[in-house]
C-alpha cells in the first residue's frame, strides 16, 4: 500500500504535546516533550523507543484518559477533551472480564455505549466469525489460550467500530508463533476496514512489517527523533513482508537509531514502565 497522499484527511494528531508528572521525590519528571505527529486516514504508524520514553503516555492522551500538560491531541480534527467513541485502545494485557463469556466480552464496549442488544449480538457474532472464535463464544476467558484471549480483546476493540485504534504492545505477551498469526489477523483487519492505527511495539520486525511509517522516540524526556516511511508493498500481509529483503535494512536502521548495540541494560531498566 502506498503511503497516504497528503490529501487524505488526518485522523489523529498530536500538536506540541508535553507531559510532566510529579515523581516520587517531589521533582518534576517530563515523560514526553513537544511531540508532533499525525496519522492519516487508513494509515498504520508504529511508535518505537526505549522503555519509559513516554509511548504509553501518548496513547493515554490520544484516548482521552489523561490530559497533556501542554499541547493538544486531535481526533478527526476535534480536540480530545476526554474519552470518545472514535478511539479504542488495546493493551498487552487482554483485560477480559473473567465473569463474561467470550461473546459478552466482545460486546463490552458496545454495551457501555448502549448499542441495542440485537445490534450488539450481530457485531459480536460477525467479529467472532472473522477471528475464528465462533465456536468459543460461550466459553469463559480462563478456558482460552493466551493468543485466543488477545484475539477476543482485538474483537472487543473493533466492535465499537472506532476510526482510530491505539495499540500498546498488543502482542508482546504471547509466544512467537502466535504473535505472527495475530499480527497477520490485525494487519488484515486494519486493511480490510480501512482503520487508522497507532501501534506501540518493542518488536522492530513487527514495526516494519505492520506499518506504513515508523516513528522512533528518544529516551526520556521522549521526543520523536526519526520518522521512517516503510516503502514496501503488502501492508495487509506481514508474513509476506517478512520475506522482503528490504526488511533487514529497515530493522538495521531502527537498531542504529535506537542505539541498541551500545545501550546498557542498566539504563534500560532504570527507565521503569513505558
Amino acid at each position: 500500500m502506498p503511503a497516504s497522499p497528503a490529501s487524505t484527511p488526518i485522523r489523529l494528531e498530536y500538536r506540541n504535546v508535553t507531559m510532566r508528572f510529579a515523581d516520587r521525590t517531589g521533582g518534576v519528571l517530563t515523560a514526553v516533550r513537544g511531540v508532533n505527529l499525525s496519522v492519516r486516514d487508513g494509515e498504520v504508524v508504529c511508535l518505537i523507543g526505549p522503555s519509559g520514553c513516554g509511548k504509553s503516555t501518548l496513547l493515554n492522551i490520544g484516548s482521552g484518559l489523561t490530559a497533556p500538560s501542554e499541547g493538544t491531541a486531535f481526533v478527526d480534527g476535534r480536540e480530545v477533551a476526554g474519552p470518545n467513541a472514535q478511539v479504542a485502545f488495546m493493551l498487552q494485557k487482554d483485560l477480559l472480564l473473567p465473569w463474561r463469556t467470550v461473546a459478552e466480552n466482545v460486546m463490552f464496549g458496545v454495551e457501555i455505549q448502549r448499542v441495542p442488544l440485537p445490534e450488539r449480538r450481530r457485531r459480536a457474532e460477525q467479529l467472532l466469525q472473522q477471528f475464528s472464535l465462533a465456536e468459543f463464544s460461550g466459553h469463559y476467558p480462563h478456558q482460552l489460550s493466551g493468543g485466543m484471549r488477545q484475539r477476543v480483546a482485538l474483537a472487543r476493540t473493533l466492535a465499537v467500530d472506532p476510526h482510530v485504534l491505539l495499540l500498546d504492545e498488543p502482542f508482546s505477551a504471547v509466544d512467537a508463533q502466535t504473535r505472527i498469526v495475530l499480527q497477520r489477523d490485525l494487519a488484515r483487519t486494519l486493511a480490510e476496514n480501512g482503520k487508522t492505527a497507532l501501534l506501540i511495539t518493542h518488536d522492530l520486525l513487527e514495526a516494519v512489517t505492520l506499518s506504513d511509517r515508523v516513528l522512533v522516540m528518544s529516551r526520556r524526556p521522549g521526543v520523536i527523533i526519526e520518522e521512517i516511511a516503510i516503502d514496501m508493498p503488502l501492508r495487509a500481509d506481514p508474513i509476506a513482508r517478512r520475506g522482503d529483503p528490504k526488511v533487514n535494512d529497515y530493522v538495521a536502521r531502527l537498531m542504529d537509531r535506537l542505539d541498541i548495540a551500545h545501550a546498557s541494560l542498566e539504563r534500560e531498566s532504570a527507565g521503569g514502565a513505558a
Binding site: N60, S63, G64, L65, P83, N84, A85, V87, A88, F89, L91, K93, L95, L97, P98, W99, R100, F108, G109, E111, I112, Q113, Y140, H142, V160
Partner: protein, 266 residues
C-alpha cells in the same frame, strides 16, 4: 471435567473421610469408659443420642434450633448487606475511608461478643440483641473483603471502561461490583460461621430460648449429654450456614475453575 485420576483421588478421599467418622464415633462410644472417664464428664455417643430424643420430645429442641437458625439467618443477611454496602461506599470514597478507618479499626479490634451483655441491657431478653451481635461480627470480614476488592481493581480495567465512555455507575456495575464477588464470598464464608458464634454468645448471656440457652440450661442441671446435644446442633447449624453460602457461591462464581476439595465435594 473430572479426569479419572482426580475422580479416583476424590473417591479415596471420601472413603478415608467415612472411615475417620466411624473411628471417631466408635472412640466416642467406647473410649471414655475404657480410660476411666465418667459419663458425666464425657457421655458416650449412645447417651447423647438418647438425650437428643429426650430433648426433642420434652425440651423443645426443635424450637430452640429454629430460633437459633432464624437469628443466625437474620444476623448474617443484615450483617452482610451492611458490610458490603459500607465496603463499596468506602471503596469508592478514599476520603471517607481515611476519615473512618481509625474507628473502623478500633471497632474491628474490639471483641464483638463483649457487646452482648450491653445489647441485652438495651433490648432485653429478646431475639434482637442476639441478631445485633451477629450483625456486628459478620459485618467486618464482609466489609474488609469488599473494600479491598474495590480498592485493588485493575486500574487498566477501569481505564478500558472509561475509554469506552463508561459512566461512574457503569464502571461500578460492570467492573467493580462483579470483580468484588470472589473476595466477597470469601468474607461471606467466614461470616456464616461467625454469625453462629455471635448468636450463641448472645443466647448464653441472656434469654430463655435458642441453642445457647439450652446449653446453659443443660450446664445448670449438670446434664452433660444435653450440653453435647446443643453443641452438635450448633455445629449442624453452622455447617448448614456455611454450605448454603458455598452453594450460592458456586452459582454466582460459576465462571471460575473450582479450587478446593470442599468445593468439589459438594
Amino acid at each position: 471435567m473430572n479426569s479419572s485420576p482426580r475422580s479416583s483421588s476424590t473417591r479415596n478421599g471420601a472413603t478415608a473421610s467415612l472411615i475417620l467418622l466411624v473411628v471417631f464415633l466408635a472412640a466416642w462410644q467406647w473410649g471414655p469408659p475404657l480410660v476411666g472417664v465418667p459419663s458425666f464428664i464425657v457421655p458416650p455417643l449412645s447417651m447423647v443420642a438418647t438425650e437428643f430424643v429426650h430433648a426433642w420430645q420434652f425440651d423443645h429442641l426443635l424450637l430452640h434450633t429454629g430460633v437459633t437458625i432464624a437469628e443466625v439467618l437474620a444476623g448474617f443477611v443484615l450483617g452482610s448487606l451492611l458490610g458490603a454496602s459500607i465496603g463499596y461506599l468506602l471503596g469508592m470514597s478514599p476520603t471517607a475511608e481515611l476519615a473512618l478507618s481509625p474507628y473502623i479499626l478500633a471497632l474491628q479490634i474490639a471483641p464483638k461478643v463483649a457487646f452482648a451483655p450491653l445489647f441485652i441491657l438495651w433490648m432485653g431478653f429478646t431475639v434482637y440483641p442476639k441478631i445485633l451481635v451477629a450483625i456486628l461480627i459478620v459485618f467486618f470480614p464482609v466489609m474488609v473483603n469488599v473494600l479491598t476488592a474495590v480498592r485493588t481493581v485493575d486500574p487498566d480495567l477501569v481505564n478500558l471502561a472509561r475509554a469506552f465512555k463508561a459512566t461512574r455507575a457503569q464502571i461500578f456495575w460492570k467492573i467493580e461490583f462483579p470483580n468484588s464477588m470472589p473476595p466477597m464470598f470469601a468474607g461471606l464464608r467466614i461470616g456464616a460461621t461467625l454469625a453462629v458464634v455471635g448468636v450463641v454468645v448472645g443466647e448464653l448471656v441472656g434469654g430463655n430460648v435458642g441453642l445457647g440457652y439450652l446449653l446453659t440450661f443443660g450446664e445448670g442441671q449438670a446434664n452433660t449429654p444435653l450440653v453435647f446435644v446443643s453443641i452438635v446442633m450448633l455445629t449442624l447449624v453452622g455447617s448448614i450456614a456455611y454450605f448454603a453460602v458455598i452453594l450460592v457461591e458456586r452459582r454466582v462464581l460459576h465462571y471460575l475453575p473450582q479450587r478446593t476439595a470442599m468445593d468439589r465435594n459438594l
